[in-house]
Symmetry: C2
């Protein structure tokens, strides 16, 4: 997979859970940020569940006090940035079909997979997209020119399921416990409000 990236500096790794409100805001900015510094973005959807088993945490939306704060903060961020934000009806969703669809498509077409990932998280936080429903994900993919039948088969494929799971496990093994999470040349940054720091890191090298 990395063979496409042997030219130029390494891509930025963008790890995120499709149900992460802060990942939504980062997803809107990460590619332009990378481009400003001659980088590309490797999108890495995963589910935070495995990390939560180690940290003992739960998702923001399942945690007392934090849930109320996060809902208020997301709306405030959306107003500040002038972007849409609407929590889906059943939030949070685990979104395994969406994650598997991504890794299925990535095997043959990383660029379209990245576009799919972005459209999935935008759909989740704008249009009530059900990331747990393979049919909805396949329909979204078809709008990007992907074959509906192949996508449905990919989401059900045991090899794809294993790949998706392994990516999540590798994230946790590398210390990832939150979303969004960005690696720049191995340096970890957690949270959408660290994008400014990521940009300084890219501009000035390690400090």
């Amino acid at each position: 997979l990395n063979a496409t990236h042997t030219q130029g500096p390494a891509p930025i790794e963008f790890w995120f859970d499709f149900a992460s409100g802060y990942a939504y805001f980062a997803a809107l900015e990460i590619e332009a940020l990378a481009e400003r510094h001659g980088r590309t973005v490797t999108w890495r959807p995963f589910t935070l569940g495995a990390a939560f088993k180690i940290t003992g945490a739960q998702g923001l939306s399942r945690t007392p006090l934090k849930s109320d704060y996060a809902r208020r903060d997301w709306q405030r961020l959306a107003r500040l940035k002038g972007v849409a934000f609407k929590l889906p009806e059943r939030h949070p969703r685990v979104g395994l079909p969406a994650i598997r669809a991504f890794y299925h498509v990535e095997r043959s077409d990383p660029r379209t997979a990245a576009a799919l990932a972005k459209q999935v998280i935008l759909g989740y936080f704008r249009d009530n997209l059900d990331t747990d429903d393979p049919d909805e994900i396949a329909r979204l993919g078809s709008r990007l020119g992907l074959d509906r039948g192949l996508m449905l088969a990919g989401m059900a494929d045991s090899e794809v399921k294993a790949t998706a799971r392994q990516h999540g496990e590798s994230a946790v093994a590398r210390g990832v416990f939150g979303s969004p999470w960005i690696f720049v040349d191995g340096e970890p940054f957690w949270g959408s409000d660290r994008l400014a720091m990521v940009e300084r890191w890219l501009a000035g090298g390690a400090w």
Copy 2:
């Protein structure tokens, strides 16, 4: 206590745990930030323990994965900002004597109490100050002109202890679950990396 603030806009409330690394960085900047917008700062040390009972979380430094990330991030922030940062030998400390000393001094002298709070958190993250040791806190206070004997008596005073506890409980009742935590006219902001947003809020009013 609020009688001193009836003129002009309400002070910014700065809630923090003395063992919070991110609070240290915010403590270095909060007063200048407030001053730029014609505000003062009400320092509000508390212990996060009560909030953790509700959220199920633990302190960063007691949480797997998060602890490693936080230590790396604090050093990185210190280098970026060009300030000292050294975790004390036994971290994290609860720091009840330091919290009680603050509320004891605040009864008669809020300004010196604020200076004490700032020196305590700077001492903790620079000079291994033991916030659990009343003698060390009293010695620090004496450098600010406070009477050592009165401070020691204040830290042991049951009324002061109750006041300190009540402040912590009121924070949790208002939804505070992290440190640092800032209220601007009732609007909550969590985290040192939200200072830029606090500043925009102060500059532009609610958006």
